[in-house]
Symmetry: none
Subunit: 226 residues, 2 copies
Amino acid sequence: MIRTVMVVEDDDAIRMVLRTNLEDEGYRVLEATTAEQGLVIVQDEQPDVVLVDLRLPGIHGLDLVRSLRATSQVPIIIVTAQTDSHDVVAGLEAGADDYVTKPFVAKELMARIRTQLRRSAQPEESEEELVCGPIELHPDTAEVMRNGEPVPVSRIEFFVLAELIGAKGRVLSRDHLLRKVWGYGNAGDGRVVDNLIYRLRNKIEDDPANPELLLTVRGFGYRMKA
Amino acid sequence: MIRTVMVVEDDDAIRMVLRTNLEDEGYRVLEATTAEQGLVIVQDEQPDVVLVDLRLPGIHGLDLVRSLRATSQVPIIIVTAQTDSHDVVAGLEAGADDYVTKPFVAKELMARIRTQLRRSAQPEESEEELVCGPIELHPDTAEVMRNGEPVPVSRIEFFVLAELIGAKGRVLSRDHLLRKVWGYGNAGDGRVVDNLIYRLRNKIEDDPANPELLLTVRGFGYRMKA
DNA sequence: CCTACCTGCGACACACTTGCGACATACGCG
DNA sequence: CGCGTATGTCGCAAGTGTGTCGCAGGTAGG
């Protein structure tokens, strides 16, 4: 069953990132850059989830939330800058169901969308097992296990590893990882990914200099052992 | 199979209307006029659905929802005045499954009850116990025991602990706790959760500086030992 | 009215994270 | 073999997350 996600966001770069991420997750994506547009499209298309940027040109996103809530029970997720915390409160009181602050981790946003969909409809299948050789990821506890022993990894390291293992051995480009994990805005510096891979190897490989799990594919990116 | 519906409502007229409607639909009806009464009867009779008015004398319906949710998966439907939309949001976050606003259309409410019954029909599980290592929670008495000894905890501390233990080792973000325990109003300030965790640790941990039960997951939130 | 506790808040300390830059090394290609 | 590019390695410093604790206003109970 194909779900539709509506994105109301005026920033082209962010909207683009959201679109690709959502399409990768298998959603149909609708886009609007203003509150007026968004309201019309929501009523026409009845999406399953709506993402709303609070900072919109013209009518504020807050009013859009209120308008939507007046006529629909569609789950609404607010996307906003971290500084506007009081707007977030107002947004939730206006009827939004959840929120994420920029800069957000795209994977997390996807997870929240799944949560909203689960609440508003039938339960979906459980998440796939994130296992690769001796490495095991537990999304519930945000823990990484190696041969049964917990390995301390940071937040971003966790998401990168999750993305790689979830790809089941396919190569992921640096761009792909930047978009999926970092989200947006960091496209300028590619070496960030290399660095993170280096650090990850030090944590999960027996011999980090000769990786056997987290492999380099020269000219393309990285992949996990099949 | 006869289903039982519990009604927690202080307004005699409304309660009467609900009773007749429900009996017409073939349900057995239990009634309570206060949250305390409701809590007791729910535990004694284990109804299949609970209707809760948010405006109750004494303990607020919201707290009743939290108490119920802490020990039971019974479907909860909130009944409230249209003006208290903020409370509805908090109620859903506290664990209610649905809501209707007064004045409600009785037929619609009956339909929603059927929906809840359909959803809860299949997965009949055993009640989860709120126990984690030496810590034991008794939702009946709002008491926390540690190695059998009672530990004085405040209201909010109790709910946070209940939420954490109920999560069975899964990580709960600060946002999650804020919304589940505090409700939507306080979404702005983050350190409140850290503080409460700190105080909880001083009460339940042997060595609060090196917690073994209430663990930090840096970048994600907190979780109980598995 | 008084008291004790609860609760949110802010300030500071400390550890960890993370982006970045510099240099080293490996690989591909002519 | 030699050069250019891609990637590995590693240290640094600013930024961020979290622990700790005292304070003060609020609240409930005596």
